[in-house]
Symmetry: C2
């Protein structure tokens, strides 16, 4: 591990000069604002904040930081959950929040080129006039740069893929200041090593993504939401497999456990208190939608569904998904004196019932509460574990670790979409074995001084 | 560049011992059989052929080859087009053709784990009983390992993605013999660097893929083929944009120029001699198919289509696609005393008419013939250029180079699906700039002695 020392006055002055005075601050308030993410990891202060403006400026800052061994942690809007952007070693907090330019909309190509700091909901609002949207949606209004760095996903991944599946090209600045153009605007690419995908998901440890060209899809003409309730989790997952096996291209396939149905009902829905699937279908024609709903209904019934309800009504659909999106806030309100630990693992769909059963048993054995919901179509589950004290946090961490290890054992992964950050590093050796050594070799090759987001991922 | 010397008797004996006598041959006939691919690059002989059997055996062979600086070129079935698997430096030809085991079908997860030597058509035949298939289809019966190493794609990529989009995990042997397990069976993965995608498309220059877990999709219940003819290429591409913009999830969207419609008609079709789109739609319901066809017909008409014809008749659809798949053989028959140079570039769809016009002008100016067809939905074009003499080949190479450079200039890539191999190396600096230096750093990190597939990609 590289040794980092506190920045001295000369270094701070030089960084201010390189970044531009209007893009630099060492004020406590600015550092404090960017010291913690949306998860449970303790806040840590950078020594200065630099607002990135373009690749050239970031290149200058990085080249100097690299020469001086100053840590650089990139920051979007702080919606991460695993401490991915917490500046654990001080140094520079490089925030992308002023790089919000939509560089070019390539409407006929279903593409857009953006700066890394554009929040994805703002991007989609701007794209609405073209009838196009960028489908990955992690819930929070994360920046495109943060979503790519973390390979964010969300509820629509089952149809549209994760962030990694929706990017064609990126501009990246390396630790030594070199500026790379990766990929191209061709949707088919078989030309040289796929460096683009090496940087996507690397959480700012290999380079800083400054611009990206994203794939877009047409806004669907017709949508329907469906709710199906089952006596047990296994039946619900059988229905997931049946729906996918029928060739229906479902746009969302969410699982809620009983505790989550109760929480959502407090937010205005009326969902029966059973293991539940929330589904959404997008179609180009109304008739297709009706056919698809009839098929899903029949498949759910065959798997033993207790209740099934479909709605193409926009208001009702909106209520349902808003409740789903705000489930976390509802949970927070229900636990006023507690904090919420949110975990994320993913397994092959066939192992989903086994994972849920293991998680429920582990949570119950620890004597704590746990709320499960997840992207069942992807085998991805989130468990929310409230805690009130440092001792409570330790118990929750133990439960988290047991579930993560079980997910890996079941052929899955320590994280489907939250990334490794600080919180999942402990499981990398179990999941990746010898490949972790190769990841370290790549890190050493691209960032030999270890200035980029130290203490993360590896 | 590493210096390689001819293998001596002791080295050959040791390789035979490490590989197993039944998996080793230095016979000329075996080497000759694996000295050229399906393209125009001149054949070159390896010094011995080793049949890979499993990761452990390949690991032993590679560790020795690495210590002795012996080149190793991996081989599937030789259907490449850019010399990707031609053993330019002699050494070991490592063929995967005996590693054809389907290790496990995970039907409920829509996944299969296979050895690298399974040809994809054989795999799909074996998967038919599960109602599932692996969608990438480059035409030839390439092996899964070759398809992954090359990121092969084909006509269904517009809906289902290329090989890289349909792989979840792989076992890879590094140059020094280390065996890696990359990715997992979880469809969502956000855990550490995406090494899997670094090896996919690296054409055997970074490691040898020995096993892979692939994503499968349900065999579609209903299919229709459509043919639309247009007065010019621009109208045809407007129709491509319109069809995709309508949110129709077309499974194939192929472009044929006039010369190719004539060639296909010799193979049994009856396509009007105009710039043509061949399309295929897959649907879960017959009614959906009818709606989709009506929409495509209306969109094509709005773009000025001269003719439009749809058929859900299986025999007619089969004739059409067989003619498309055999267009190359038809071309070969029509040019009995010539060889065919096949090129591959891809651009953003909006630049497709410009690329086609440039290519046609370049071909005409050179006084040669050229047949264009391509995966228009992906902006990917193949141009077939017959030649008869070494001088003719030089003219064709000049035309190829001009079109490749134009494709890159238009925001595209030197190769959408054939890979770099030998043939596209000259264009890597124009396409990738500084990123090419980083590719070389990665190569140096993972294969410091340069034993894996020398002279390729970089």
């Amino acid at each position: 591990m590289t040794a980092y020392s506190a920045l001295n006055a000369a270094q701070l002055a030089r960084l201010e000069e390189l970044a531009g005075a209007e893009n630099f601050s060492a004020a406590h308030a600015e550092r404090e604002l960017r010291s913690r993410d949306a998860g449970h990891h303790p806040p840590q202060l950078a020594e200065c904040v630099i607002w990135g403006r373009d690749a050239a400026q970031i290149s200058r800052v990085l080249a100097y930081a690299n020469a001086q061994r100053i840590p650089v942690t990139a920051w979007g809007v702080g919606t991460g959950l695993e401490g991915n952007a917490i500046p654990t070693r001080g140094g520079i907090l490089l925030t992308m929040e002023r790089m919000t330019r939509i560089v070019e909309v390539h409407a006929d190509d279903f593409q857009v080129t953006v700066e890394a700091g554009v929040p994805h909901k703002d991007l989609n609002a701007a794209l609405a006039r073209y009838g196009l949207f960028f489908p990955p949606d992690p819930g929070a209004n994360a920046t495109i740069g943060g979503m790519l760095a973390n390979n964010a996903a969300g509820i629509r991944t089952v149809k549209y893929g994760a962030s990694k599946d929706n990017v064609l090209a990126a501009q990246v600045v390396l630790a030594d200041g070199r500026i790379l153009q990766l990929g191209s605007r061709s949707v088919k690419q078989s030309s040289g090593y796929n460096l683009l995908q090496l940087f996507v998901g690397s959480e700012g440890t290999l380079g800083i993504i400054t611009q990206a060209t994203l794939k877009l899809v047409p806004v669907p003409q017709h949508m329907s939401a469906m709710i199906a309730s089952f006596a047990d989790v296994t039946q619900a997952i059988e229905a997931v497999v049946a729906v996918r096996g029928a060739g229906l291209d479902v746009a969302a396939l969410e699982f809620l456990d009983v505790t989550n149905t109760l929480a959502l009902n407090q937010a205005g829905t009326d969902i029966p208190p059973y293991p539940t699937l929330l589904m959404e279908i997008h179609a180009a024609h109304a008739a297709t939608l009706d056919e698809d709903i009839a098929t899903v209904r029949a498949l759910c019934a065959a798997c033993g569904a207790l209740h099934f309800r479909a709605t193409a009504d926009a208001a009702e659909r909106k209520t349902l998904w808003q409740a789903r999106h705000h489930a976390y806030e509802t949970l927070v309100r229900n636990h006023p004196n507690e904090r919420i630990f949110i975990m994320d693992v993913a397994v092959p769909i066939s192992a989903f019932p086994q994972l849920i059963a293991h998680a429920r048993a582990t949570i119950d054995a620890a004597g704590i509460r746990g709320y499960m919901k997840g992207h069942a179509g992807d085998g991805n589950i989130h468990i929310e574990l409230p805690y009130a004290t440092p001792e409570g946090l330790e118990v929750v961490k133990g439960v988290n670790g047991a579930i993560v290890r079980e997910a890996i054992r079941l052929g899955g992964t320590a994280t489907g979409e939250h990334g490794v950050g600080i919180g999942k590093r402990a499981y990398m050796a179990q999941e990746h074995g010898e490949a972790l050594v190769v990841m370290r070799q790549i890190k050493q090759t691209l960032d030999p001084n270890g200035i980029l987001n130290p203490d993360k991922v590896l």
